[in-house]
């Protein structure tokens, strides 16, 4: 079963076709990067997959189920996790409480109001394990709003992992990070089990090529190229899109 299948997806805003007949298929365990300049339709594609936007036409299957019109929370229950380009955490809660909220979401205890979270050993254990695994344990009592930007970006990814997603959408996970922090973030992604399929939007082409098995290039709402990082690096169409930007040498491209 393909974790994500997209067929002939289009999405228009007024007269603008943000997505134009996009088809995409991910293999189980694949790491796929989507590249393209600003306005290429990457974020719109993400929002349609996630359920924030309804497509004008086309279909989406998430982990084998037709999710074209499923509400956002239903897609999460199917096994879809996502991170946000603009850091999207719970700033006035501690790191541990952020994890507890994230972990409880997809457990059968998510609507329990008669017992404290502390009495649910399952939730506590899973939150603590996840924090420990990703080296965030020492920060557990810190308010998330007080963390450094780099730490928040890491938590952004780790929070999406709390519900054990089978398909993970990463929306510019390295945006605004220093070189060292970019390595920390890409290490998290590289260390993920292959049971998780990853779809990634990233402006940092070097990082994208390091992480991805395959790369899809978009321009003006369409898929213009698809292949392995090596194929894409040398793709003529892509060179034209980036207008001589040093894609071959793997430099970051900002649109």
């Amino acid at each position: 079963m393909n974790p994500l299948v997209i067929r002939n997806l289009s999405c228009s805003f007024g007269g603008v076709r943000a997505l134009d007949n996009v088809s995409l298929q991910l293999e189980p365990g694949e790491r796929r990067a989507i590249i393209g300049t600003n306005g290429a339709g990457k974020t719109t594609l993400f929002n349609v997959i996630n359920g924030q936007l309804a497509p004008s036409s086309g279909k989406i299957w998430i982990l084998g189920e037709d999710a074209t019109y499923a509400p956002i929370h239903r897609r999460a229950a199917l096994g879809l996790g996502r991170t946000f380009q603009i850091t999207s955490l719970f700033p006035r809660l501690s790191v541990l409480d952020n994890m507890l909220v994230a972990v409880a979401a997809l457990t059968r205890f998510h609507f329990v109001f008669w017992r404290p979270v502390a009495a649910h050993a399952e939730i506590i254990a899973r939150a603590c394990e996840t924090l420990a695994r990703w080296n965030l344990w020492d920060l557990r009592d810190q308010l998330v709003g007080n963390l450094s930007y780099g730490m928040q970006r890491q938590l952004e990814i780790v929070l999406a992992l709390a519900g054990s997603p089978k398909l993970l959408l990463l929306d510019e996970p390295m945006a605004g990070l220093s070189a060292a922090e970019t390595h920390l973030a890409s290490d998290i992604i590289l260390q993920l089990e292959r049971s998780v399929t990853v779809l990634l939007i990233e402006h940092d082409l070097a990082a994208s090529f390091r992480i991805a098995d395959r790369v899809t290039a978009m321009a003006e709402g369409r898929v213009v190229a698809e292949g392995t990082p090596d194929e894409i690096r040398t793709d003529a169409t892509l060179r034209r899109i980036y207008k001589g930007a040093p894609a071959a040498s793997g430099g970051a491209v900002r649109g």
């Binding site: 996630n50 924030q52 509400p71 956002i72 929370h73 999460a76 229950a77 996790g81 996502r82 946000f84 999207s88 955490l89 719970f90 700033p91 006035r92 809660l93 409480d97 507890l100 909220v101 994230a102 409880a104 979401a105 997809l106 457990t107 205890f109 998510h110 609507f111 329990v112 109001f113 008669w114 017992r115 404290p116 979270v117 502390a118 649910h120 939730i123 929070l159 999406a160 709390a162 519900g163």
Partner: protein
């Protein structure tokens, strides 16, 4: 926790020594404390600002007064029926109100409470109009000020315990998550609407319980119980105490009743003085008195260390 238990024990033990008037003041504090905590579930925990919370408080009181006076229904039935009326009203109203965004929630809750208020004023045959509905008597066992104080204290303790479990439960965490970041909550798999709806029902339930206590404390209800003044007062209790905690609203309610009692014994213009004090608090302790005191304490211990 220990301090809270000590205060409650002291209240319970000391009650027989107090005058009926003092007991009524304490009863009023506890009643408003329940009312303020109920609003805080919406405002402080879920991030839904309501400027019409008196609707559920007053509706419960009116419903009980109407069926017990007009239909001679006994106390044991009339009080739960009033609470049920409020919760049902909240269940229907929030189907509509929760479709709005947060700023509009404030307006639409105000609209609902104003609608009920004008019904109470104008539907004279049912509600007694401006005169309200007097003549409600407490059953014999709780007729005395001390007896009713113990009832209120018990209801207060049970309500506080129930709410403190709620805010620590998975649902309580989810409510805080909704307050902080709805978009992320959806992406994590929460059906956000369901949690907001639940919070609005819980808030209405405890506001209604407070409304019942208020009704039986005073023995009558008038349109002022539904007024925007009461909605604003309970909002202030929450904000002054500290929103997003349960102790904050309790503190806010105690301060409000005390201030009202002290200031009104000096001047008729007590609302003005209280308003002025709120402005000072808003300027110098915008996170609420509780947060202000906690911050002070933290600074002092840091300096000592």
């Amino acid at each position: 926790m220990v301090a809270a238990a000590a205060v409650i024990l002291a209240l319970a033990a000391g009650a027989p020594a107090l005058s009926a008037y003092q007991l009524d003041l304490l009863t009023q504090m506890l009643t408003y404390a329940i009312f303020a905590m109920s609003l805080d579930i919406l405002l402080g925990y879920t991030g839904l600002p309501s400027l019409g919370h008196a609707a559920y408080f007053g509706l419960a009181a009116y419903a009980t007064a109407i069926i017990s006076l007009r239909l001679s229904v006994p106390f044991a039935l009339a009080a739960p029926a009033g609470v049920a009326a409020s919760v049902i009203a909240a269940a229907l109203f929030n189907l509509l109100a929760l479709r709005t965004s947060r700023g509009y929630y404030l307006m639409i809750t105000l609209a609902l409470s104003q609608l009920l208020w004008s019904l109470a004023v104008s539907w004279t045959e049912l509600t007694g109009g401006d005169n309200g509905l007097p003549g409600l008597e407490r059953p014999g066992a709780i007729a005395s000020a001390a007896g009713f104080f113990y009832v209120t204290l018990t209801v207060f303790i049970v309500s506080t315990l129930a709410l403190s479990v709620l805010v620590r439960s998975p649902v309580g965490y989810a409510l805080k998550g909704v307050r902080e970041n709805e978009g992320r909550m959806r992406a994590l798999g929460y059906d956000v609407w369901k949690y907001k709806y639940f919070a609005s029902l819980v808030a209405a339930l405890f506001a209604a319980i407070a409304g019942e206590l208020f009704l039986y404390l005073n023995g009558f209800v008038s349109p002022s119980a539904l007024s925007v003044t009461v909605s604003a007062q309970v909002l202030m209790m929450v904000l002054v105490g500290a929103a997003g905690t349960l102790f904050g609203p309790i503190l806010g309610a105690v301060m409000f009743v005390l201030l009202q009692y002290v200031v009104s014994s000096y001047t008729q213009r007590w609302l003005f003085v209280i308003g002025f004090i709120y402005v000072i608090i808003a300027l110098y302790a915008p996170q609420g008195v509780l947060a202000f005191l906690a911050e002070r304490l933290r600074r002092r211990t840091r300096r000592a260390a």
